[in-house]
């Protein structure tokens, strides 16, 4: 019942809007009777009201609309010429439909009035075929439509008819070309409460609002930055408030542009049904998470790729009923669409329980098409093989069917998804099905980005491309940057990470590496493009900031390494790096080194990978090694010691527009505090029930990947000792540590000296 009400409500809103438009159009049409577009719009409006009323069972409304539609179709086809009388009658029709709609709104029914007079007026007009007072076009049109038998009537009689139905527009003199003002009076008499809880807003206006909010975010960033340099409590408080309001406003405006993904999905049941019939298959579609919301522009951008993927699944993925039954599966195939939020992105999965993809067949095909050589194919790991599906010119369809294989390949899907900053990957198990997963950003307009600098110029890197940051420290262990022939690489947890020098990629001089391994201090931003990691060497890593993406001028259309530009907090312009282009330019994505590297990884580590845990290693005190599973940590931050403020008995810092409590890990564990260090406090940010908690540690050392012994991995002890990298390390359960901290609130008299020691 609820659904029906919603449909009726929507019908009312739409119809009332349509009628308002029709009022204006009719008046305009009277001035420009030859305007086909106006006439078509009026016709469509009446037509859709008629259609919907039939569907919703409002037969009286349907009759009235039908009468109008018939007359309009005569007008549209040129068999009838618009006269003031017809215009008046049509305006009456609008009013009559409004009355009926009001009735529907109040009672849910379309009333008992028959509107016979109005309908017969329309029939009269339709068969009237008179000329108007001036007689223009009469003969011409009669010749065109000899089929309709005229029953000539004096125009005066027709004009009199409206008076019996509705007195308003009756006063129009025959032949008058002036638009009647009577309907305006009628409109003022009746307001339209139907549309009160909903308004339709022009998308252009929303776009402009979004742009303005973007500007506001930039201005906010600048204000916050300048305020942080001044010690003015009033100003700081105001800036803080501005900060919060801007964030809320940004969220609000973004929400107005959000649409549930169900809007796109709603057409898929039909698509699937039609395709099933066409391919002689049986299939049902299931949807999970259809209320997941995405920005309108993103919804538009993913519609085509999603449709393509669904068609692909139906055509190639699912088997025919006989084959399925033979394989021990139900005859009816299942297509599952899933959408869910994860880490600030939306994941969309399209999975089928079909035959799956045979990696060998893909390899053979790719070799045959000349995409890769047989030698390369033999070395490919499973993931690379499935990646080939996205290569340009690849299609596994044995034959081109009507459904797919028409040249719009998966490479277009990937291109389209990557254009909006998303990623696509494919997983498949032979005989069990295929899953295609897209990771899509929530919005395009405002994105979090990392700012780095190279040769004195700042650049922004979208965080969706960011995996981690690595600092190669001259004093640290390990060989640092090494060379494979002349290509610099870095050993990241045992894997070779190809390195790209940003300065060189941007036209700077080639950096010289010493062959035996270089231990210069460098900062590496580990990025991923097309699912492959690579390291970008930058001079400095500055900060993260919410940035507003602005397109580059056409004058810069050759600068393909940049996805746009933005204005930073200090008012300067920074270019946004386009990570996939950068990877392509540096040839990271050529099927050479990167692919081989991953093969090794698959071979040697695939078995242990599943059980391996990534751990953050840090010092507490001077030499006390501790480890925390990386999955429990949301971020690593550094705060200057003077950023620490007090809230009650707690030390806090302002973090991303909110107040984050700080926990001195040494205090909680009863260790001696870290030796005084001048400089920023290293803080591990831990999301506890959705709220960030900062844990002050000593010194962050490394991130390693280690397989924990099962008894350790399953243990619930808050702290236990394990041997990591050949050294005894205490593995912490952060949740337990924080829980214990809450029981024993730190004594401020004790905490203050600890804070002082931390470098105030």
């Amino acid at each position: 019942m609820q659904d029906v009400d919603e449909i009726v409500q929507e019908f009312l809103v739409e119809s009332v809007e349509g009628l308002d438009q029709m009022d204006r159009d009719l008046v305009a049409l009277e001035r420009r009777p030859a305007d086909v577009e106006l006439l078509s719009r009026i016709f469509r409006c009446i037509h859709s009201i008629k259609g919907a009323s039939g569907f919703l069972g409002f037969s009286r409304l349907g009759d009235v609309a039908h009468a109008g539609e018939s007359l309009l179709s005569e007008l549209r086809d040129g068999r009838l010429v618009l006269t003031p009388a017809i215009t008046s009658a049509l305006l009456q029709l609008v009013d009559a439909i409004r009355l009926i709609l009001d009735h529907v709104r109040d009672t849910g029914k379309d009333g008992t009035e028959e509107w016979g007079a109005l309908i017969s007026l329309f029939q009269t007009l339709q068969t009237g075929k008179e000329g108007n007072g001036k007689g223009n076009g009469n003969g011409h049109h009669s010749a065109e439509s000899p089929a309709s038998v005229p029953t000539p009537e004096e125009f005066g009689a027709v004009a009199a008819a409206p008076e019996t139905a509705d007195p308003e527009p009756a006063g129009i003199p025959p032949g008058s070309s002036a638009p009647p003002d009577a309907p305006v009076v009628a409109r003022e008499r009746r307001s339209d409460p139907v549309a009160r809880s909903n308004i339709r807003v022009d998308v252009g206006l929303l776009d402009r609002l979004m742009n303005l909010v973007g500007e506001l975010v930039l201005a906010r960033n600048q204000v916050v930055r300048h305020t942080s340099l001044k010690a003015d409590a009033g100003l700081t408080a105001t800036a803080q408030r501005l900060n919060l309001i801007t964030t809320e406003l940004q969220e609000g405006v973004m929400k107005t542009r959000m649409q549930p993904i169900g809007n796109v999905w709603s057409k898929f049941p039909r698509v699937v049904r039609d395709l099933a019939v066409q391919c002689h298959k049986q299939a049902r579609i299931e949807m999970d998470g259809r209320e997941t919301e995405l920005d309108k522009t993103i919804i538009e951008a993913i519609t085509d790729p999603l449709t393509h993927v669904v068609r692909n699944s139906m055509d190639h993925g699912l088997e025919g009923p006989e084959e399925r039954v033979a394989a021990g599966k139900p005859a009816e195939g299942r297509l599952l669409l899933r959408a869910y939020h994860e880490g600030g992105q939306v994941n969309i999965e399209v999975s089928d329980d079909g035959r799956g993809i045979d990696p060998e067949r893909i390899k053979a095909k790719a070799v045959q098409k000349g995409i890769i050589t047989a030698e390369v194919a033999a070395r490919l790991g499973e993931r690379e093989v499935f990646d080939l599906v996205f290569a340009p010119g690849f299609s596994t369809a044995a034959e081109v069917t009507a459904v797919s294989g028409r040249g719009v390949g998966m490479d277009v899907v990937r291109t389209n998804i990557e254009r909006i900053g998303g990623t696509v990957d494919l997983q498949s198990v032979m005989g069990q099905g295929t899953t295609l997963r897209m990771k899509i950003p929530l919005t395009l307009a405002i994105i979090p980005a990392l700012t780095v600098s190279s040769r004195g110029i700042r650049y922004a890197i979208p965080q969706v491309n960011l995996l981690e940051l690595v600092r190669v420290d001259p004093a640290g262990a390990g060989p640092g940057v090494e060379l494979v022939h002349d290509a610099p690489v870095f050993r990241l947890r045992g894997d070779l990470l190809p390195l790209v020098d940003l300065a060189q990629a941007l036209g700077g001089p080639r950096r010289h590496w010493t062959a035996g391994g270089s231990r210069d201090a460098i900062s590496i931003v580990v990025l991923h493009a097309d699912g492959r990691p690579f390291g970008l060497i930058v001079d400095d890593i500055t900060d993260t900031e919410e940035i507003v993406v602005k397109p580059l001028s056409k004058l810069l259309k050759n600068a393909t390494l940049f996805a746009g530009a933005t204005i930073m907090g200090d008012g300067c312009v920074a270019l946004i790096l386009d990570v996939p282009s950068l990877a392509h330019k540096a040839a990271v994505l050529a099927t050479g080194q990167g692919a081989r590297r991953e093969v090794e990884e698959e071979d040697t580590q695939d078995q242990t990978r599943r059980a391996a845990t990534r751990l953050l290693i840090f010092h507490l005190g001077d030499h006390h090694r501790m480890a925390v599973p990386l999955s429990e940590i949301s971020r690593l931050e550094e705060f200057p010691a003077d950023a620490v403020e007090w809230a009650g008995h707690e030390r806090v810092v302002q973090y991303r527009g909110a107040i984050m409590p700080l926990i001195q890990l040494a205090d909680v564990l009863g260790h001696e505090a870290t030796s005084p260090v001048a400089g920023p406090l290293p803080v591990v940010v831990y999301a506890r029930q959705g709220k960030p908690v900062g844990i002050v540690v000593g010194k962050i050392l490394d991130i390693i990947e280690e397989t924990l012994p099962p008894e350790v991995a399953d243990s619930t002890l808050p702290m236990q000792s394990v041997v990591l990298q050949g050294r005894v390390t205490d593995l912490l359960d952060l949740e337990a540590v924080i829980a214990s901290h809450e029981v024993v609130q730190p004594d401020p008299e004790y905490s203050t000296p600890a804070l002082a020691e931390a470098g105030v």
Partner: protein, 150 residues
């Protein structure tokens, strides 16, 4: 094309140039610009004009003139184009000049170099020759920097 009558004038090296005031949005002192690596030489960078990102073109490079001497600050003539605002970096700003149509003459055949394509003609002012810059050509020539390097 009828030569514009009201001209915003400026100096680039020894050249005295003008464009129609209608095209000019505003004139600014030298702004901080962010260079765009790998872009054409004549692009001197991006600047923040009240929240709009404006591409700046150095007219010296476009016109094949020597680079601006160290310490000389450029001026920005911000013009409106179909693709948003673009800034032309010049050495100095002159007056807005009312130029009569009968003082206009197309460029002499002997004019060569980067300036040949970029100048619609000259106004013969009593004390100087005012070159009328073809803004549309400036905006397209930018993408073929080799053409103005002669």
């Amino acid at each position: 094309m009828a030569p514009p009558s009201q001209l915003c004038t400026f100096h680039v090296d020894t050249l005295f140039l003008g464009i129609s005031v209608v095209q000019v949005q505003e004139v600014l002192r030298e702004q901080e610009t962010t260079p765009v690596p790998l872009a054409a030489d004549s692009i001197s960078g991006l600047m923040n004009l009240r929240g709009q990102i404006v591409t700046a073109i150095d007219l010296r490079t476009i016109l094949g003139l020597p680079p601006r001497p160290e310490g000389n600050r450029a001026m920005n003539v911000v013009i409106r184009t179909a693709d948003g605002a673009v800034s032309l970096m010049v050495d100095d700003i002159g007056d807005v000049i009312e130029a009569a149509e009968d003082t206009f003459e197309p460029p002499p055949d002997t004019l060569t170099g980067g300036a040949r394509n970029l100048v619609l003609g000259v106004h013969k002012l009593p004390d100087a020759l005012l070159h009328v810059l073809d803004v549309d050509r400036v905006l397209t020539l930018e993408t073929v920097p080799a053409a103005c390097a002669t």
